[in-house]
């Protein structure tokens, strides 16, 4: 079946086609399952590291939602439910690989060493991005849907020209797959055999629009028409996401070109803090996905396999709490920028018009100081 039965069969469904294969290595109950192609090649310490990051980024997300509710942020795009897709894929990256996020990849940012405070600048309105992309190999957030897939493709073409053994990875959502730029990026990267991984987090909802408004076929199958492999992975299974992303990155680095990964997941929260999902989706759907929670299943696995004890889980919770409260404190201390920041960094070189405007506006502001004296 091409789309969930509950949403009706779309036109053009091929009754003979087998159901989409979903790569899964860890069931929602925390049971390890075998897959003919993919395996878990992580040490117990690395697995515990995954768990730590999953918990911490959820805590960062919770804190940011709360800060928005209290008026400290203007808006926030929650990653709730998508932690495994982000942490699993980000852990597969090497230092010199370059990640291009959309605007919900707070988990990837965390793994790339970006201070969570730097993520808040955009949402608080003190800047448009607070981090140096080159220092973290983590590009700026991109809000114009899908535009950055072309930047990632170009960057990958640069990697090719440098003769480097790295890859670019670009994160986008199910809605973005309808954008012309994303399709152009598929065309270009295929024609150039660029070292890139297209990582689509299909969280089932593009704000209020479900997947069937975007596609008649499963998204991972789009890749075939462009001439490169596509694969669907359980996006709530951090093991499977890690294994699939690692393979795709290895392929890219070794000259085998692009891969489209469709991480099948669910946006458990609202699109952003301004959204109200109760207007367009059923509570039962959310409840069914809660049973597939990415953090709970890894916790179950750790417990069942006696890889972690209560002390470990308590320590992680305490650390996450500390990250959250530290983030809150520093967010409240973020100063508003000076008015003249409007004209800063627009051009690398001297620009007469900007200099004139800045001068005029500074004098205008100073005129109020004269009045007060």
């Amino acid at each position: 079946m091409i789309v969930d039965a509950a949403r009706g069969a779309p036109l053009g469904t091929d009754a003979q086609s087998p159901p989409p294969e979903l790569v899964q290595l860890l069931t929602p109950e925390g049971e390890r399952v075998e897959h003919p192609e993919y395996d878990v090649n992580l040490t117990p310490e690395e697995i515990k590291g995954l768990y730590r990051d999953l918990v911490i980024v959820r805590r960062i997300d919770t804190e940011a939602v709360a800060l928005t509710r209290q008026g400290e942020l203007g808006i926030w795009a929650s990653l709730l439910g998508q932690e495994a897709a982000q942490i699993g894929s980000a852990h597969a990256l090497k230092q010199d690989d370059m990640a291009f996020p959309s605007y919900r990849e707070h988990g990837v940012a965390w793994c790339r060493g970006v201070d969570p405070l730097d993520l808040l600048g955009l949402f608080r309105g003190v800047n448009h991005a607070g981090w140096d992309p080159k220092a973290h190999n983590f590009h700026l957030y991109t809000i114009v849907i899908g535009s950055h897939t072309l930047h990632a493709t170009g960057y990958a073409m640069g990697i090719q020209r440098d003769g480097a053994e790295n890859a670019a990875i670009v994160y986008f959502g199910d809605g973005a797959t309808s954008q012309g730029d994303v399709n152009e990026a598929f065309v270009w990267s295929a024609a150039q055999n660029a070292p890139i991984v297209f990582f689509c987090q299909n969280n089932q909802w593009a704000i209020s629009e479900p997947l069937e408004k975007q596609s008649r076929i499963p998204l991972y199958r789009r890749a075939e028409g462009f001439g490169f492999p596509g694969i669907r992975v359980d996006g709530n299974d951090v093991f499977a996401v890690h294994a699939v992303t690692q393979k795709a990155l290895d392929n890219a680095r070794s000259g085998q070109g692009p891969t489209l990964i469709e991480a099948f997941t669910y946006r458990m929260g609202a699109h952003t803090t301004t959204d109200d999902p109760t207007r367009y989706r059923l509570q039962a759907e959310l409840e069914s996905w809660k049973l597939k929670d990415p953090i709970e299943r890894l916790k179950a696995y750790l417990v069942k396999n006696q890889l972690a004890d209560r002390e470990f889980f308590d320590a992680i919770d305490a650390e996450a709490k500390e990250v959250g409260s530290d983030l809150r404190r520093r967010c409240l201390e973020l100063p508003d920028p000076e008015p003249t920041a409007i004209w800063e960094n627009v051009y690398a070189t001297e620009h007469s018009l900007l200099a004139e405007e800045r001068g005029q506006f500074t004098s205008y502001l100073a005129s109020f100081e004269d009045v007060s004296r």
Binding site: L140, L150, I159, W188
Partner: protein, 314 residues
């Protein structure tokens, strides 16, 4: 243009050429003729037919340290790339708090006068001068083409580079010594005069010079604006203060065109020097007409002189 691009590629191995048909064919105007043969397919890239992709991937290459020079085949085809240019290329440096540099040049053959079919004769400069973060320049003659394209490629900011396509066939001496060249963000007095200043850029500079030559009654000073953003106000205002009269000429529609900005600034800053309002000569507020009508649409020598006469009738 071709020599300027070649020189830039020789000087800096990070300079790339990308566009539709720029390789074996040398571009539809042959501007990149022979470059792929000499610099290889990795540096002179025949791209898929996707303008958004040309600019979008150029941004990515710039992020990796390259200096891409994109060719948009015709002015009317830049619009599929409009989003990448205005929402991404223009803003990325500011959004990164200055940590990212975007040395991307977008070459656009522009304007009419070659009897082309629709979408091949447009003058879209005002869309880009309206967007902070971009530099917008237009060359008007072979010597400037050679120097300005090299200066644009050296510039760390994104540059929209307009090339008047009907002037591609013009011939003139070119000084290869770049060190003597006027900076590409400066206007130049193309022909000194005393009675009236005619401001023009790109294809209209030649028209303005011809008008100045033909006018036996008035001494016309022609200023080649060259850089539309930033505007070299000093050169422009100095000329108008001297002559007291000004006519602005461009091919683009007059309404909301770049000439409106020039007229407003001159009026604001030279009000007491002006003997007459700043007059504008340009295209009409219509889609570009079929080519059999373009001679009526495009400003020519007579329409420039008509406006000059009107400034003296005030």
């Amino acid at each position: 243009m071709n020599e300027g691009l070649r020189k830039a590629m020789e000087n800096d191995p990070k300079v790339l050429i990308m566009g539709e048909d720029v390789g074996k064919l040398g571009g539809v105007f042959r501007v990149t003729d022979g470059l792929q043969k000499d610099f290889g397919e990795a540096r002179v890239i025949d791209t898929p037919l996707a303008e958004s992709g040309i600019v979008g991937t150029a941004i990515g290459l710039a992020l990796r340290g390259y200096r891409p020079v994109c060719e948009i085949q015709f002015d009317g085809f830049v619009f599929p790339a409009f989003n990448q240019i205005t929402t991404q290329l223009a803003k990325m440096r500011m959004r990164s708090l200055g940590t990212l540099e975007l040395p991307v040049v977008i070459r656009i053959p522009c304007g009419g006068g070659i009897g082309a079919v629709e979408h091949h004769s447009e003058s879209p400069e005002a869309y880009f001068t309206h967007t902070g973060g971009l530099r917008v320049v237009a060359c008007s003659n072979p010597a400037d083409a050679y120097t300005m394209i090299q200066q644009a490629i050296e510039c760390p900011d994104p540059v929209i580079f307009f090339e008047p396509k009907r002037r591609y066939w013009d011939k003139a001496p070119v000084d290869r010594d770049l060190s003597k060249a006027v900076p590409f963000d400066k206007a130049v007095v193309a022909r000194p005069g005393e009675d009236v200043t005619v401001l023009a850029y790109g294809p209209m500079v030649k028209t303005a010079l011809e008008a100045a030559q033909a006018d036996e009654q008035h001494s016309i000073e022609v200023v080649d604006v060259r850089s539309l953003n930033p505007l070299d106000e000093e050169t422009v205002l100095e000329s108008v203060r001297r002559t007291g009269r000004c006519v602005v000429v461009h091919e683009a529609p007059v309404f909301n065109g770049y000439g409106g900005e020039l007229a407003a600034r001159i009026t604001e800053k030279c009000f007491y020097n002006l003997e007459a309002p700043v007059l504008r000569v340009g295209g009409f507020s219509t889609p570009y007409p079929p080519s059999r009508l373009e001679d009526h649409y495009l400003p020519d020598l007579d329409r420039v002189l008509d406006a000059v006469d009107r400034t003296f009738a005030w």
